[in-house]
C-alpha cells in the first residue's frame, strides 16, 4: 500500500493552515500554498502569515514550535508544480466555489504524480459535482476529507468516496488520517452537509429560529439546549459565537439549495433580520466584536447578552430554568415540562432527533455513523440515537404522534426496544434491517470500555480498578472524580503490584476519562489540613512515595498510557513508569506550586534523575537542578506529548500515539515487548550541590519578586523546592540515595501544608478553579 510521505495543502485559510499544521504534527513534511496576493512584495505572504499566526495561536494548532519547520510555505504560481508533483496527498482547502475548485483540480491533475491522492475539504459541495467533467483518472484518485475546526483537536474526519474512487486511494488516506493524524473516520454518503453538519446545522437553525419566535432569553436557551442534553455548555448561541455568525447564512443557503423540497430543514430556514444586522455591524462572534454575547468594555467589561425581541444588548444574567431544575437528570421530564422552555426544548430536540432518524439511509448507512459524527464533530456527550435510548424510543414515538409529527421509519424499527443493546458483553446497534449487529472495532483499536462491558475487574475499590487486557497484561484504571488520586488509589496500586507479580506479565496504567488524572485529591488534602490532621497528611505523602516506588521496582514492566491532563500526582505516577506510550494530546506537568505545594510523591527525585542522565547538559550537579527548578517552580505544563519530551516529562524513548482509540493497544504491545527480558531499574545515586545552590535559587526568585513576576508566597514555595532540589545540607562530595531525596520532599511538604498561604491556594483552586497569586 502506498504511504504518505509528503503532503501539499492548497489554501492557507484557517482550515488549510490548520490541516497543514496537523500533518506537520504527525512528523510529515507539508507544503502550504496559497495565491500570490496582488501587489504583495512577498509572494508567499499568505502561507507564511498563516504559519506565523499559528505559532501564536491559542489553542495552538502546532504541537511543538519545531513542528512548524516541517511546513514549507509557498505560493500557487512559483511552487505549485514542483510541490504537487512530489506529493503523495494533495489536500484542497480553497473557497467553496465549484468553478474555482475545478480549475484547481485541472492544474493538480496536470502536475501530480501517478498514485497520488487528491482530496477536498469541502463542507457543502457534493463529490459528484466536484469531479463532474474532470478526467476519470482524477476521479479515481479523488475523495472528500472533511475536517472539523480546529483540525488538531477535533477528532472527526468525514470521508466521502465517489463511485470511481480507487479503494487503495481511500485506504491510503484513511490509514494516514487514522494512524498519523489520529482521526476517527466516518463514512458519509455524498449528500449535502454530509452527516455532522446536515444534522448539526438543522439543530442549530431550529434552536435559533424557535428561540426568536418565542422571544426567549439566550442564557436560558443555552442552559436548556446544553448540559442537560450532554451538549457542551456553550449551548446554541454560545456555539454560534464560537464558530462565527457570518458562517450561518452561507451554510444555510447552500444546504437549502441542495436539499430536496420536502426536507424538514426548509421549515426552519427563515431569514433572521436581527442576525443579519448583527453581522453587518461586525458582531460576527468571538472573532469579531462579539456575537449574541459580548463584553461591554465601556461598562467595565460587563458581559452582555442580546435580547432577541429588541435586538439590543442587555446585561447577561444567570440562567434560571425551572424546567431544568425540576427535571433532575430526566431528559424526558425536561422535554415534557409544562413551561415555555420545556415546550421549546421539546420542539427543538424532538425535531432534531426525528431528523437524525430520517438521515439513516440518506446521509449515513447506520446509526453509529451519525452518533459518532455528533459526538466527535459537535462534542455531544451522547449521539442522537443514544439520546433517544435515554428517552426511550417508545416515548419519542408516542410524543411525535401526539403532536401529529411524522415518525421516521428507522425510529419505528426501534419501537419496543432500543437502538443499542449489550448482548453477551458486546455492544450491538440496530441496523436498517431491523437486526442488531455487533459494533466491531478496527484492528489495533482496543478500548477499556469494551473490556469493562464484557467482564469484571480483577480487583477494585472506590477509586481504582484493575482489569485483565488478555495476553498477560493488566490495566490499572483510576475511577474517582476527575481521576484524582487518593488513599484508595494508592491502596489498590500496592495490591496491584502484588497481583500482577503473581498473575500477569506486565501492567498498563490507563483510563478513558477526558483526563488521565488531575493529580492528588486536593479536597481531601485541604480538609485534612483544616482539621489539623498532620499525621494523616504525612502518612499520605509516605504512602504515595512507597506506592510509586513499588511500581518502579516491580519485577514486571509498567507502561503508562496517558491522554489529556496528567498533572501533579498524575504526572508523578507516569514518571515512575518504565515506559510511556502517550496520546499525542497529553498535557503533563508538575503543577504543585500553583496550590502552594511541591511534588512530594517522588516527582522531584525522578526529574532530578532524568535531567542529570538524559538532559544533555553541561557537567556538574547544578545544571540539572536549575533545569528542574525552572520547570517545577513555574508549574510548566507541556501542551502536547511532543512538548513533554522537550521538558523530559517524557523520555526520548517514550512513544506517542496519535489516535486516541489506538492508545491502549499500542501501550499493551509495548508492555508485552518489554516483558520478554525485563529487568527492573537500578536505584539512582544523586550528587547534589547543597546549600549554596539553594541560596542561588532563592536569590533568583527574590529577583523575580522585585520585578513583580513572583508573589510573596511564591518565594516561600520556591524556597521549599530549592531546598529539596539542592539536596538539603549535602555537598558535591557526598552522594544521596532516593530515600534521602524523598525525605526532603516529605519534610518540605509537611512544612508547607501548615502555612496559611498554602491553605489559601488550595482553597482557591478548589472553590474557584483558579490559582491564587498570594
Amino acid at each position: 500500500m502506498a504511504e504518505i510521505r509528503k503532503v501539499v495543502v492548497v489554501g492557507a485559510g484557517v482550515m488549510g493552515a490548520g490541516i497543514a499544521a496537523h500533518v506537520a504534527n504527525a512528523g510529515v513534511p507539508v507544503t502550504l500554498l496559497d495565491i500570490v496576493p496582488a501587489g504583495a512584495p512577498n509572494r508567499n505572504a499568505l502561507a507564511e502569515g498563516a504559519v506565523e499566526r499559528m505559532l501564536k495561536a491559542d489553542p495552538a494548532p502546532l504541537m511543538t514550535k519545531a513542528a512548524a519547520k516541517l511546513i514549507t510555505p509557498g505560493n500557487t504560481e512559483d511552487h505549485f508544480d514542483a510541490a504537487v508533483g512530489d506529493a503523495d496527498w494533495i489536500v484542497e482547502v480553497v473557497t467553496e466555489r465549484l468553478d474555482v475548485k475545478q480549475a484547481l483540480y485541472r492544474r493538480i491533475e496536470a502536475a501530480r504524480k501517478a498514485g497520488s491522492v487528491v482530496s477536498s475539504n469541502t463542507s457543502t459541495l457534493p463529490l459528484a459535482s466536484l469531479v463532474d467533467g474532470l478526467p476519470e483518472s482524477f476521479a479515481r484518485d479523488f475523495l472528500i476529507t472533511h475536517f472539523f475546526n480546529p483540525p488538531r483537536y477535533m477528532r472527526l474526519l468525514e470521508i466521502v468516496v465517489g463511485p470511481l474512487t480507487r479503494p487503495e486511494a481511500v485506504d491510503t488516506v484513511s490509514r494516514f488520517a487514522d494512524m498519523s493524524l489520529g482521526k476517527s473516520l466516518v463514512r458519509c454518503k455524498d449528500r449535502p452537509g454530509f452527516i455532522a453538519n446536515r444534522l448539526g446545522v438543522f439543530w442549530l437553525q431550529a434552536a435559533v429560529v424557535e428561540a426568536f419566535a418565542r422571544g426567549l432569553a439566550i442564557e436560558d436557551v443555552d442552559a436548556v439546549i446544553g448540559k442537560p442534553m450532554g451538549i457542551p455548555k456553550t449551548g446554541v448561541f454560545g456555539l454560534l459565537d464560537l464558530v462565527g455568525l457570518d458562517l450561518m447564512p452561507h451554510v444555510n443557503a447552500s444546504l437549502a439549495a441542495a436539499l430536496p423540497k420536502d426536507d424538514p430543514f426548509h421549515a426552519f430556514d427563515r431569514p433572521l433580520p436581527v442576525v443579519q444586522k448583527l453581522i453587518a455591524d461586525g458582531y460576527t462572534g468571538r472573532k469579531g466584536k462579539g456575537g449574541f454575547y459580548r463584553l461591554n468594555r465601556e461598562a467595565g467589561k460587563r458581559k452582555e447578552a442580546l435580547d432577541l425581541a429588541t435586538g439590543e444588548f442587555r446585561p447577561a444574567r444567570k440562567a434560571e430554568v425551572a424546567a431544568v431544575a425540576e427535571s433532575g437528570r430526566s431528559l424526558g421530564k425536561l422535554l415534557d415540562h409544562d413551561s415555555p422552555l420545556g415546550a421549546y426544548a421539546w420542539r427543538v430536540m424532538g425535531a432534531t432527533l426525528a431528523y437524525a432518524a430520517a438521515l439513516v439511509g440518506d446521509a449515513a448507512d447506520d446509526i453509529e455513523a451519525i452518533d459518532e459524527a455528533m459526538r466527535l464533530g459537535y462534542n455531544w456527550r451522547w449521539g442522537p440515537f443514544e439520546l433517544i435510548d435515554r428517552l426511550g424510543a417508545d416515548w419519542l414515538i408516542a410524543r411525535l404522534e401526539r403532536d401529529g409529527q411524522a415518525v421516521p421509519e428507522m425510529l419505528r424499527l426501534a419501537a419496543g426496544r432500543s437502538f443499542y443493546r449489550v448482548e453477551n458483553g458486546r455492544r450491538q446497534a440496530l441496523g436498517r434491517d431491523g437486526q442488531y449487529h455487533d459494533i466491531v472495532r478496527p484492528d489495533g483499536v482496543l478500548l477499556l470500555e469494551d473490556i469493562k462491558r464484557a467482564g469484571t475487574p480483577v480487583i477494585k475499590n472506590g477509586s481504582a480498578a484493575l482489569w485483565d487486557l488478555g495476553d498477560g497484561v493488566a490495566c490499572f484504571e483510576f475511577t474517582g472524580k476527575m481521576n484524582t488520586i487518593d488513599q484508595q488509589v494508592l491502596d489498590l496500586l500496592v495490591k496491584t503490584v502484588r497481583r500482577v507479580k503473581k498473575d500477569f506479565k506486565a501492567l498498563v496504567i490507563y483510563n478513558e476519562g477526558h483526563n488521565f488524572s488531575v493529580g492528588a485529591n486536593l479536597g481531601l488534602a485541604l480538609f485534612a489540613c483544616n482539621i489539623a490532621a498532620w499525621t494523616e497528611v504525612e502518612a499520605s505523602v509516605t504512602q504515595g512515595q512507597e506506592a510509586y516506588r513499588a511500581l518502579k521496582y516491580a519485577p514486571f514492566p509498567v507502561v503508562g498510557a496517558p491522554s489529556g491532563l496528567a498533572l501533579g500526582g498524575g504526572c508523578e505516577i507516569l514518571l515512575h513508569c518504565d515506559a510511556i506510550q502517550a496520546h499525542a494530546e497529553t498535557y503533563m506537568g508538575l503543577v504543585e506550586v500553583g496550590v502552594g505545594l511541591i511534588p512530594a510523591w517522588g516527582g522531584c527525585k525522578e526529574m532530578l534523575h532524568r535531567w542529570s542522565t538524559l538532559g544533555r547538559l553541561p557537567k556538574g550537579p547544578m545544571p540539572a537542578v536549575a533545569k528542574v527548578f525552572e520547570t517545577v517552580s513555574t508549574a510548566t505544563v507541556a501542551k502536547s506529548a511532543a512538548e513533554a519530551k522537550e521538558l523530559l516529562y517524557l523520555r526520548p524513548t517514550d512513544g506517542i500515539t496519535m489516535n486516541r482509540n489506538r492508545l491502549l493497544a499500542d501501550a499493551k504491545a509495548r508492555a508485552l515487548a518489554m516483558a520478554e527480558s525485563y529487568v527492573p531499574p537500578e536505584p539512582p545515586i544523586y550528587v547534589l550541590p547543597g546549600p549554596s545552590a539553594e541560596t542561588a535559587m532563592a536569590m533568583a526568585v527574590a529577583g523575580f519578586r522585585r520585578l513583580g513576576k513572583a508573589t510573596p508566597y511564591d518565594e516561600v514555595v520556591s524556597g521549599a523546592l530549592a531546598r529539596i532540589l539542592s539536596g538539603g545540607d549535602t555537598d558535591v562530595t557526598e552522594t544521596l540515595d532516593e530515600e534521602a531525596v524523598l525525605a526532603l520532599e516529605r519534610e518540605q511538604l509537611v512544612r508547607l501544608v501548615r502555612q496559611p498561604g498554602t491553605l489559601a491556594r488550595l482553597e482557591s483552586m478548589l472553590m474557584t478553579g483558579k490559582p491564587l497569586r498570594n
Partner: protein
C-alpha cells in the same frame, strides 16, 4: 424557694482571665470598654436580675398570659418590671450607637443575657425578640425604615417579633403561604396566618413591630421566593406616635409546657400594611443574619437555666438532712447529714457545675469572635472570626440547650419529690429549658447545619479556626506534666473528633443519609471536645494561681476540670464509636415496621 445570685466571680474569670477581656478596649470603637466600665454594668445587671426579674419568675409561671378581647395581658408585675428594665437602658445595650444604642461588646452582652435567662426566661423573651427584629432591620432595612423604627426598638418603647412559622410550615419555610401584594406606593398588603409567634402581642410597649416572611405575587417557588416585611401593630403617625390599628390581630395564645409568662401567639394578618426589608425574594438571607445572633442567644438560655438550677440544687443539698454519709455520720450533732455528703448527689451537682462553667466559657469564646468579627481592623482576622462563629453557632445552640436541659433535670433530681412539685421552682427550669432545644431550629436541625453546611464550607475552612488552635495547644502542652491529666485526655478526644470529622465528611459526600445519621452524635462529640479544650485552658490558668487563692475559687476550678476530664470527657469515646458505626442500623427498618 432559693433566690438567684449572679455568678459574677466566674463570669469575670471567663471574661478577663480566659478570654482576655481586657483586650476588648483595643478594638476600634470599643475603647471605653475597660474593666472600669464593664464591671459596674455586670453588677447593675446582676442587681436587676436578682431583685426585679427573679422574684417574678415563679408567679409569672403560675399566672401565665391571658388573651381577652383580642388583647394579651402579661402576668402581674411584668409591665412594671419592663418599665424598670427599659428605663435602665437594658434594651439598648447591644445596639448600634447610631440609633441610640450603647454598643456593648458581645462578650458583655452574653453575660447579661445569661443573667436574664437565669432570673426569668419568660421575661427575657420580650426584649430578646425585639433584639432579633432589631438585627434584621438594622442589617437589611432601608434608611427610611431604620430611621423610623430602630430608635424605638432600641429604647424599648416599641417591641419586635419575628414571624416565620405558619400552621403547615416550620422547618421547611419554602412552603410558606402568607402573601404580600404591592400597593404601588412602596407599601404592601400582607395576608396570612402566623403561629408560634413569641411576644406576638403583649402590654409592655405602646407598639409592636412584626418582621414577617411572605411571598410576593411573582415569587418563585420554595425558599428562593420568600421576602421579609416590616408590619407594625399600629401604623405610626408622622410624628412617630402609634396611630391606627393595622390589620394584625391575635387569634389565640398557646398553652405550653414552659415559658408560660411569654405570650406565644397566633397572629392573623388581614391586608396589613407592610414594607419590604432587604431585596425581593431574599428574605431568607435577612432572616439568617437575625437567626445566627438568636441561635447563640438560645444557647445562652440553656446555660442560664442550668446555672439557676445548679444554685437551687446546691442550696437544697446543703439544707436537706436525710440519712447518713456512707462512711458514717459527717454531722453527728444533727439528726441526719445533709444530702450533699452523698456521692450520687455530688455527681449530679458536679455535672451541673462543670456544664455551667464550661458552657459559659464556650459561649464567651464564640462571643469573643463575634466582637473580633465586628470590630477588628484587619479584614483577614474578621473573616477568620466570621468562620469561627459560623462553625460554632449550631454547636453553641444545640450543645448548651441539650446539656442545659440535662443539668436542670439533674437539679430537679437532687430535690427528689420536692423537685417535682412547684414550690422550689426546680421543675419550672426543666419545663422552661425544654423549648430551647426546639425553637430557632431544633437541635436536630443544628446538627444538620453543622455536618451538612459548615463542614463542607470552602473545603472545611471554618474548621481550621477550631482545629488549628486546639492542635497547637495540645502540641505545646503535651509535655507539660502539671497539665498532663487535662491535656492527654483532651488529645484523645481531639483525635477522635478529627477522625470522626473526616469520616462524616467522607461518608456524607457519597451518601447524605450517613451524615444525617451521624449528625447529632457528631455535634455532641465536637461540643464535648471543645469543652475539654476550654477546661484544659481554665485548669492551666487556675493552677498558676493556686498560691493566691483566698476564697478557693481556683482550687475549685481545678477540681471541676478534673471531674470533667475523668467523668465527662470519656463520653467522647462512646460518641466516637457511635459515629464511626455509620447509619445503617438507623435506617434499617421499613417505615411500615414502626
Amino acid at each position: 424557694m432559693a433566690g438567684y445570685k449572679a455568678p459574677l466571680r466566674d463570669m469575670r474569670f471567663v471574661l478577663y482571665e480566659l478570654m482576655s477581656g481586657d483586650e476588648l478596649a483595643r478594638l476600634p470603637g470599643y475603647e471605653e470598654f475597660t474593666r472600669e466600665l464593664i464591671d459596674p454594668v455586670l453588677e447593675e445587671a446582676a442587681r436587676l436580675c436578682e431583685e426585679v426579674l427573679h422574684p417574678l419568675n415563679r408567679s409569672g409561671d403560675e399566672e401565665g398570659c391571658t388573651l381577652e378581647n383580642g388583647v394579651v395581658r402579661t402576668p402581674k408585675g411584668f409591665p412594671e418590671a419592663y418599665r424598670q428594665f427599659r428605663e435602665g437602658g437594658w434594651t439598648s445595650i447591644a445596639c448600634d450607637p447610631a440609633y441610640g444604642g450603647q454598643g456593648l461588646p458581645a462578650m458583655v452582652n452574653v453575660l447579661v443575657e445569661e443573667m436574664i435567662c437565669s432570673a426569668n426566661l419568660s421575661f427575657g423573651m420580650y426584649p430578646g425578640l425585639s433584639h432579633g427584629a432589631y438585627v434584621a432591620l438594622h442589617d437589611h432595612g432601608t434608611e427610611a425604615l431604620k430611621a423610623a423604627y430602630l430608635p424605638k426598638l432600641v429604647d424599648g418603647t416599641w417591641a419586635g417579633t419575628m414571624c416565620l412559622t405558619e400552621p403547615h410550615c416550620g422547618t421547611d419555610l419554602g412552603l410558606l403561604r402568607t402573601k404580600a401584594v404591592p400597593q404601588g406606593d412602596g407599601s404592601y398588603k400582607l395576608t396570612g396566618t402566623k403561629i408560634f409567634i413569641s411576644a406576638g402581642d403583649h402590654d409592655l410597649t405602646e407598639n409592636i413591630v412584626h418582621l414577617v416572611l411572605a411571598r410576593l405575587p411573582d415569587a418563585p417557588k420554595g425558599v428562593k421566593g420568600i421576602s421579609l416585611f416590616l408590619v407594625p401593630k399600629y401604623l405610626p403617625h408622622a410624628d412617630g406616635t402609634p396611630g391606627p390599628s393595622n390589620g394584625v390581630s391575635t387569634g389565640a395564645i398557646e398553652h405550653k409546657m414552659g415559658i408560660k409568662a411569654s405570650a406565644t401567639c397566633v397572629l392573623n394578618f388581614d391586608d396589613a400594611t407592610g414594607w419590604l426589608v432587604g431585596e425581593p425574594h431574599k428574605g431568607m438571607r435577612a432572616m439568617f443574619s437575625m437567626m445566627n445572633t438568636e441561635r447563640v442567644a438560645v444557647g445562652v438560655q440553656g446555660l442560664g437555666l442550668a446555672e439557676a438550677s445548679y444554685q437551687g440544687a446546691v442550696a437544697y443539698a446543703r439544707e436537706r438532712l436525710q440519712g447518713r454519709a456512707l462512711t458514717g455520720p459527717k454531722y453527728p450533732d444533727r439528726p441526719a447529714d445533709p444530702i450533699i455528703v452523698h456521692p450520687d448527689v455530688r455527681r449530679m451537682l458536679m455535672v451541673q457545675r462543670s456544664t455551667v462553667e464550661s458552657c459559659r466559657a464556650l459561649a464567651m469564646w464564640t462571643a469573643r469572635h463575634l466582637d473580633l468579627q465586628n470590630r477588628h481592623p484587619d479584614p483577614e482576622v474578621r473573616r477568620e472570626s466570621e468562620d469561627f462563629v459560623a462553625l460554632m453557632t449550631p454547636i453553641v445552640k444545640a450543645l448548651l440547650t441539650d446539656l442545659g436541659y440535662e443539668a436542670t433535670n439533674h437539679g430537679m433530681q437532687v430535690l427528689g419529690g420536692h423537685g417535682y412539685i412547684r414550690e422550689h421552682g426546680m421543675e419550672q427550669y426543666v419545663r422552661d429549658c425544654r423549648i430551647a432545644q426546639i425553637y430557632e431550629g431544633t437541635n436536630g436541625i443544628q446538627a444538620l447545619d453543622l455536618v451538612g453546611r459548615k463542614l463542607g464550607l470552602a473545603g472545611g475552612r471554618p474548621l481550621r479556626r477550631f482545629f488549628h488552635p486546639v492542635a497547637a495547644y495540645i502540641d505545646e502542652k503535651m509535655e507539660d506534666e502539671a497539665l498532663a491529666e487535662f491535656v492527654q485526655p483532651l488529645a484523645k478526644a481531639f483525635v477522635r473528633l478529627q477522625q470522626a470529622t473526616a469520616e462524616v465528611a467522607r461518608a456524607g459526600l457519597s451518601n447524605p443519609e450517613e451524615a444525617g445519621a451521624a449528625a447529632s452524635d457528631y455535634l455532641r462529640l465536637f461540643g464535648l471536645t471543645a469543652l475539654s479544650y476550654l477546661w484544659a485552658r481554665m485548669a492551666e490558668i487556675a493552677l498558676a494561681k493556686q498560691d493566691d487563692d483566698p476564697d478557693g475559687f481556683y482550687a475549685a476550678k481545678v477540681a471541676t476540670a478534673r471531674f470533667h476530664a475523668e467523668r465527662v470527657l470519656p463520653q467522647t469515646g462512646a460518641l466516637f464509636s457511635a459515629v464511626m458505626a455509620g447509619g445503617k442500623s438507623i435506617m434499617a427498618l421499613d417505615e411500615a415496621a414502626f
